[in-house]
């Protein structure tokens, strides 16, 4: 598939792909093995600098930071995938409602989407937290809704465009049910635009987890998340300033990887970039809309 080839030829995209894969592997491995038990405290070994055997040092209770980060990658993966799934479902549902239905439904959805876009993910998270308290689910749902709306906004015009194309009309004429039509013709066409949004959504999810966990609305103290780790270590920043580097770096690299992957996917699947000439008015998969800063 030429898209895959183009993706591989981009250094940045390759980096993104490799890092994302590495995180998935780490998350999986951490289920079975980490250098130390991430919960094991060892008061005698508090605040060690990076050294053997604690390759990234230890925290205030002697827990091994490397193990904490490895275990934390599980949370990261779960949050990213969770948010991605919800964003997918909401985005497709809203997108379909906004493109394939009766006029009044479409108009209502359009207004709804435009208003929801103004709600930053953080605010949605706070809405949910006020009633339900904080948890990782808050992060997942907030990012899912926040980005789902984004996905809807981008897939809606694509769906409309494809809906009026010849082979879809032919499909309808030959008696395919609307659902079959959707699956066979529409979905593959919006897939490229969609996958790009998904990648960015996952980046946002990781950022959101960091910020929300720090604020107390995300992971709880017992979850091994990078955000909680940041929050814990931050309190001692005046005495042990550099321990926060590790979780911070982990988050940054992960977010960067998802972003680069998304960018590379967008470049690989956007036909207009091939010729150096731009056809007017083609809605591209999200550039230059800025991804949100979600803390």
């Amino acid at each position: 598939m030429s898209t895959l080839r183009r993706l591989r030829s981009s250094a940045a995209g390759l980096f993104g792909l490799i890092v994302v894969a590495a995180i998935l592997v780490t998350a999986g491995v951490s289920l079975f093995w980490t250098p130390f038990d991430p919960r094991a405290t060892d008061v005698a070994s508090r605040w060690l600098a990076p050294s053997w055997p604690h390759l990234l040092g230890t925290d205030l209770t002697g827990r091994d930071i490397l193990s904490l980060i490895m275990a934390g990658s599980r949370t990261t993966v779960l949050v990213a995938i969770g948010a991605g799934l919800i964003a997918t479902l909401i985005g497709l549902a809203l997108g379909a409602l906004g493109a394939l239905t009766a006029r009044w439904v479409r108009e209502t959805v359009a207004v709804l989407v435009d208003v929801l876009i103004a709600f930053p993910v953080l605010i949605i998270a706070m809405l949910i937290s006020t009633v339900h308290g904080g948890s990782l689910w808050v992060v997942v749902w907030a990012v899912g809704i926040g980005f789902g709306v984004n996905v809807a906004r981008v897939t809606r015009p694509e769906l409309r465009r494809v809906q009026h194309s010849d082979f879809v009309i032919a499909g309808k004429a030959s008696g395919l049910s609307p659902l079959q039509n959707l699956v066979q013709h529409l979905l593959p066409n919006i897939a490229p635009v969609f996958i790009v949004q998904l990648s960015w959504a996952m980046a946002t999810a990781v950022l959101a987890e960091a910020g929300l966990s720090y604020l107390g609305f995300g992971a709880s103290v017992v979850d091994p998340s990078w955000g909680i780790l940041l929050a814990d270590l931050q309190r001692y920043i005046q005495i042990h300033p550099l321990t926060v580097v590790w979780p911070g770096l982990a988050i940054t690299i992960t977010v960067l990887a998802f972003n680069l992957l998304g960018d590379a996917l967008r470049d690989a699947t956007d036909p207009t970039l091939r010729t150096g000439r731009r056809p007017a008015n083609r809605a591209r998969a999200g550039e230059p809309r800025l991804p949100e800063v979600t803390a």
Partner: protein, 317 residues
């Protein structure tokens, strides 16, 4: 132009109404008895009922909503459950911290993004240009929380130049101290927003470079870079205005975290506390104000964009 302003204004009002309804519903309708939550586990059913009555939660939803909106239109955002303080008054007071913080952050972002974004477009294909673009992407991936921490480590812990947290008790009575307290926070938000904006400016500049009239300008005898700078930049400026709305949303969000990190007594920090104590009335009011600000700024930006866009002028004349 007038027609556009009216239509867009109507959309704004519709948007505000929908947003208020969404906020309201989210806080009332989500499963979970709010009165119970507030009363706590040990409360008797009578106490829970009392709270319910006090908050007006026993009334039909529509009435509750209308009551709230009616109050809002009079400038009354309700009073806190905990201490009875007026929400609107508290917001006004905390805004003294948040609004300057947001403004400073925006300035920092623009100062970083505009020259570097244009520069990275002009240097396209060369090592410096690629380096800038990559650096911007890396910075944009940094969580605001961590950026703030690192800045504190460098400027407060190691160098001791700036305070690690806090805001002067007397507020702006001592402008120098107040500003000092806001520098690191504004740098934190501004740098990351700036990195995001930089990539956008770069892209807008590249697009401007492809305009026909920029080519004509070069054909007259300007170097291609000069042609871009002298003829293409207004178009870039216009695109920047377009994304200002999104920038502001990002800054508002960033300020919530930053105020927490630097213990600044602003709106964001208040919001976090109120969500933690489940102070419905306050959260409702605060979120409405924040969302309203985003929507209103979006409206203002749209109008500004329309007024400045030469092609729209053509349509309007």
């Amino acid at each position: 132009m007038l027609r556009y302003a009216l239509t867009r204004g109507a959309l704004l009002i519709a948007g505000l109404l929908v947003a208020s309804a969404l906020i309201f519903l989210a806080l009332r309708v989500f499963p979970g008895d709010v009165a119970q939550l507030l009363a706590g586990n040990k409360a008797t059913p009578e106490q829970v009922d009392a709270i319910r009555k006090a908050l007006g939660l026993d009334q039909p939803l529509v009435l509750q909503y209308l009551g709230w909106i009616g109050g809002v239109l009079h400038g009354d955002l309700g009073t806190s459950q905990l201490n009875g303080a007026s929400v609107a008054a508290e917001l006004a007071q905390k805004a003294q911290v948040t609004v300057p913080l947001a403004t400073l952050s925006l300035l920092v972002a623009l100062i970083i993004a505009v020259p570097l974004g244009i520069g990275s477009a002009l240097l396209r294909g060369r090592a410096a240009g690629t380096a800038l673009n990559t650096a911007a992407q890396a910075v944009a991936a940094v969580p605001v929380v961590w950026a703030g921490m690192m800045l504190v480590v460098v400027f407060a812990v190691w160098l001791g130049w700036l305070p690690a947290q806090g805001f002067p008790r007397g507020g702006w009575a001592d402008p120098g101290a107040a500003l000092q307290a806001l520098i690191l926070p504004a740098l934190t938000i501004g740098t990351i927003e700036g990195a995001l904006l930089l990539r956008f400016v770069r892209s807008a500049t590249l697009q401007a470079a492809g305009q026909d009239f920029v080519r004509t300008a070069a054909a007259k005898g300007l170097t291609r870079n000069r042609a871009l700078l002298q003829h293409g930049l207004p178009a870039v400026g216009l695109s920047i205005i377009t994304v200002l709305g999104i920038q502001v949303a990002g800054i508002i969000v960033g300020s919530v975290v930053v105020e927490q990190l630097f213990t600044l007594p602003g709106i964001g920090r208040m919001l976090v506390v109120d969500v933690g104590t489940r102070d419905l009335v306050k959260v409702q009011g605060e979120l409405l104000v924040l969302t309203g600000m985003v929507l209103i700024i979006g409206f203002a930006v749209d109008l500004l964009h329309r007024a400045l866009d030469p092609r729209q002028r053509e349509a309007d004349e």
